[in-house]
């Protein structure tokens, strides 16, 4: 593994800190410019998770909180994909943690007040690690849309939250996966903070009938891209040389 530095994050591609239509960002966005600095080992290294950090059953949200013999309510889906970097290389041993609302759009959280019912067999958390080529897969139920206090009548599209650890802290990322064809995507002030339509498309999972398990679960493909790393011989120069 090279110790090279990572490509600069393209801030014009990422959502800006201040997106006033997403009201909470107004008081939580830094008003001063981020300070660009050279990467050091503090950024080009990162936590390493042993493969036995996660168990296979962690990746099955349909059952990982359910009572014996029970399963979560909702449309059964497989979510699979590949974690790669900006050069297209698969990222092995990436830790993915996911969380989501249940099929009715309700989170299992004490600060959550939506009237939709809790599902006693659904916790809403799962995790897995990518294989040697960067591939991952988990099983869950399709989450529901839900209203939230933002503007007077805002609803979140169906989504799954992803937290991703690549091979360095510089790649640390949290994002959300949306579902192809959901009409709520273009109405969502959080999604619309992403400045480019192609960026929104890249967060929208594609229905994949080929990977669907007949009479069991449909499949959605969701690839993710982390920052790429320099591999050039001119990278490790002494400053000023």
């Amino acid at each position: 593994m090279s110790g090279g530095s990572f490509f600069a994050r393209d801030r014009s591609w990422q959502p800006p800190a201040l997106t006033p239509q997403y009201r909470t960002s107004v008081a939580r966005s830094p008003s001063r410019a981020l300070l660009a600095m050279p990467q050091t080992l503090s950024e080009t290294t990162g936590p390493v998770f042993a493969p036995d950090t996660v168990r296979p059953e962690d990746a099955d949200l349909i059952h990982n909180y359910a009572a014996e013999g029970q399963s979560a309510v909702g449309p059964r889906i497989i979510v699979y994909g590949r974690v790669m970097d900006e050069t297209g290389r698969g990222v092995p041993n990436a830790l993915l943690e996911v969380w989501q609302a249940n099929a009715g759009g309700r989170y299992r959280h004490k600060k959550e007040g939506y009237i939709a019912a809790l599902d006693p067999n659904f916790g809403g958390c799962g995790r897995c690690m990518t294989d040697a080529d960067g591939n991952y897969e988990f099983r869950t139920i399709q989450p529901g849309v839900y209203p939230w206090l933002n503007r007077a009548n805002d609803w979140r599209p169906a989504h799954i939250h992803f937290s991703i650890f690549g091979e360095a802290f510089a790649q640390r990322l949290i994002t959300q996966m949306y579902f192809e064809g959901d009409p709520m995507i273009r109405l969502c002030p959080i999604v619309q903070g992403v400045p480019h339509e192609e960026g929104i498309d890249s967060l929208t999972a594609a229905l994949d009938m080929t990977r669907t398990i007949p009479m069991d679960a449909r499949a959605y493909k969701f690839d993710m891209v982390l920052r790429g790393r320099r591999q050039t011989m001119f990278e490790n120069r002494v400053e000023g040389a």
Binding site: Q14, P15, R28, H109, G123, H161, V191, L203, V225, V238
Partner: protein, 203 residues
């Protein structure tokens, strides 16, 4: 027209939202029985080398209100200044120290506390030593892209640090230096906006 560059674009970040606990620390938000432990909850064991320290802080928004739904992660070197886990080219580091921790603010006060060790110094790319520091990463509802900063220690010589000395607005540097509140005890508040806004980096 010229040749095409074959790069992919980084996935756009999206807010962690108010329920980040469910995915990252389910046991502390009463989703028990799925995972044995919450990752990052404990950084120390008896075998960890180094001076034990406690870092307590609160994240504030631009109105001065404490964030009660923020998640904070730290990444730091071991007592000898090596990043553990095997990715530091200088050595494997302390096998009894993960270097990484994760906390969420208290639901009522927003305060979080890390129990860790004081990191050793880590070199800058040109070989000069940086002052000991801990990387902080903050995500929450209302934060579209995770915010990265560093905490330095008040007892260390930070004037010659290769990063701190480069900062144009030296009057903002104190936002990166923790306050010592007792033996091995530090306070490091993070301010997202306004007067006293913490310096956030784009590494």
């Amino acid at each position: 027209m010229a040749q095409k560059l074959d790069y992919f674009k980084e996935s756009p970040s999206q807010t962690a939202g108010p329920y980040v606990h469910i995915g990252c620390l389910p046991n502390m938000c009463e989703i028990g029985g799925v995972y044995d432990d919450d990752l990052g909850a404990t950084m120390l064991s008896d075998a960890t080398k180094g001076e034990r320290i406690t870092i307590t802080g609160t994240t504030y928004d631009g109105t001065g209100t404490a964030l009660k739904d923020a998640m904070v992660e730290i990444w730091q070197a071991d007592a000898d200044g090596i990043y553990p886990g095997g990715r530091d080219p200088r050595g494997p580091g302390d096998p009894n120290f993960p270097g990484w921790g994760r906390k969420v603010g208290d639901y009522t006060t927003g305060e979080w506390t890390f129990e860790t060790i004081k990191p050793g110094a880590v070199p800058f790319p040109d070989g000069r030593m940086q002052a000991p520091h801990i990387t902080f990463w903050v995500v929450a509802r209302g934060i579209n892209v995770g915010l990265q900063t560093r905490m330095y220690f008040p007892e260390d010589d930070t004037a010659a640090d290769p990063i701190l000395s480069r900062i144009e607005h030296q009057n903002r540097v104190p936002t990166l230096i923790a306050e010592k509140t007792g033996e091995g005890q530090y306070r490091f508040d993070i301010s997202l906006q306004g007067d006293g806004e913490t310096i956030f980096f784009d590494f």
